[in-house]
Amino acid sequence: MGHGHHIEIKQEQYTFSPKTKRFTIILMVLGLVLAGIGIANLNNDSHSTATEHKTEANANVHDSHGKDASAHGDHAAAASHDEPAEHGNVPNEQFGPRAEYHSLNKPATTRIFANLLVAGYFFLMISLAALFWYAIQYVANAGWSAAIKRVPEAVMTFIPVPLIVILVVLFLDKNNIYHWAHYEHLHLKPEDAGYDKILDGKSGFLNSTLLFAFPAILVTIWYLLSRKLRSLSIQEDSASKGDVSFFKKSIRYSATFAVIFGFTISIIVWLLIMSVDSHWYSTIFGIYNFITHWVSAITIMAIIILYLKKEGYFGIVTAEHMHDLGKFMFAFTVFWAYVWLSQYLLIWYAQIPEEMYYYQIRWEEYHYNFIINFALCFCVPFLGLLMRSAKRNPVVMTVIGIILILGHYHDVWFMVFPGVFGPGMQIGLLEIGTFLFFSGVFLFWVFTALTKRGLIAVNHPYLEESVYHDTGV
């Protein structure tokens, strides 16, 4: 390589400029203020205290399970009378307890905790996806990405923060978020009224012990591997030129991580998000969630790199690298739509009652969210990033990227909220505030992590290949 023109590779040291710091702090403060207004409105709406709600709720659900098992005509009576034909299709056996669970007067705080779960989960998965992206670069022996590898390295340091948020949320409010956790709490026997065979059958996996154990243990293992990869990368910086031992070790650790992560990521997805709709399951849900966060992570990395370039760093990162990141975003946008449609199409076609209600509530009660979800996650980025010139244009990439991230955050919100609260939820100040606050914390953390080491992995064996990376005319 190195013909035509010569590019000098210099180490760069990032300093967290006051302007950037101010921006992240404004995001956090604005988020807190908006969330605070949202919470204040919640308190104004509810007329009784949370504890009263809770006891009432428990009694209610116990009751409902009883009613459901014995006299399920009650539900039919409560539901629409004018369309008797529908009763053959609508699965009251499945729908009954769930509908009752939703109609519980949940404490106002549940909405706060559900928001924290969404935000924590989104940023946890983004950090993990960045780590996975980093590992994939090593496993695939990729050269082009060597110049930007410090960005995923910084993003993956964020892993423990959302994990702690999630564990606290689960500890404080799991019974109101997860139907099965609430059910578990009732300790029903088969002969009891309100016994739910499906939830009981799932209790070997969906139980409180595993709900805490799996995320805590698995994420800790992944985080430790990320620490190891990070330390190998920093050791490489001070090693002698041409020493590939750290690179080879990184490949081994990356491969280990990729295998462990590939087999275990679905467990986290099932426990934290899919079990919100406790009777429902979808075999493609794990990959669907992974892709949602994978494309978001790549987008966030692209935006961070563009921002750093704008601040005058990353002189060796060219439009070629951004073009490839844009291709990643575009390709996985299409893949997201593919998985999204696969999940929807099979459930739509099979029309099996216990599968169908997931989409029934989302299509009928959250019609606009359903359409917005598809528009933001697929239509906008697909058309926006289709052209080659769009992928090489920083402004287009940033604007489409932000839309894409908002779309995928809404996607996670859309997986959780209809499941927890049933019909009638909408995005409010609390949701926007939570997202802004977490974005601020995330960016602050990532930019701080970027200052800890040089921006360029100067001794990476493929750095030169990356510097002269060219996607052609």
Binding site: H3, G4, L341, Y344, W348, Y349, D470, V473
Partner: protein, 188 residues
């Protein structure tokens, strides 16, 4: 061979200067210097992609992407019409009591049809554009240009200064320099 542009064939062109290189870096250096001196290069043949060469000789962006888009739109329209005609207009079928018009079940077929037309369209266009149609005679200037030799060709016209071009080429250690005219090569 009616579809082929006869002018594209090397036999039907003016006299050519052919420089053969075995080293990629010298080839690129020679090409850059020729371009820098204002020589119009006919083409550079390499057995594998050489990074940066396309920019040096000013290759324009391939139109394959536009062909792909056109083929995709064609395929999408064809397949959508096909489903509509077969499944809605001509012979509607009740499958699982699902509606027939514009349902999610159309999506996989629309997608596959689009991809199929795009793939075939691009492949045929690529073959046609690169004159890889059946029955074509190869026009290798050197038997090893698909193996381990790279070739620069410069077409000579009235305005070109043959000596200065040869001078420049010689500076960068070519393996061989030849002339090519009417299908006959002579070593210089």
């Amino acid at each position: 061979m009616g579809i082929l542009d006869k002018n594209l064939s090397l036999r039907n062109r003016n006299k050519m200067l052919v420089g053969v290189w075995e080293d990629e870096d010298s080839l690129v250096a020679a090409t850059s210097e020729l371009v820098h001196n204002g020589v119009k290069i006919h083409d550079v043949y390499t057995p594998y992609p050489v990074h940066g060469l396309d920019r040096i000789i000013g290759v324009r962006r391939s139109k394959l992407a536009r062909v792909a888009f056109f083929c995709a739109m064609t395929g999408f329209t064809l397949v959508t019409t096909m489903i509509w005609y077969m499944y809605v207009h001509d012979w509607p079928m009740n499958i699982g009591n699902k509606p027939v018009r514009f349902t999610p079940s159309w999506a996989p077929v629309m997608f596959e049809g689009t991809v199929l037309c795009t793939a075939f369209g691009m492949a045929f266009f690529f073959f046609w554009r690169n004159r890889l149609v059946h029955g074509i005679k190869n026009e290798l200037l050197d038997d090893r240009q698909t193996d381990d030799r790279s070739i620069i060709t410069v077409e000579l016209t009235d305005n070109t200064d043959q000596n200065s071009i040869l001078e420049t080429m010689k500076k960068h250690n070519p393996v061989e320099l030849r002339e090519f005219h009417n299908g006959v090569q002579t070593t210089i």
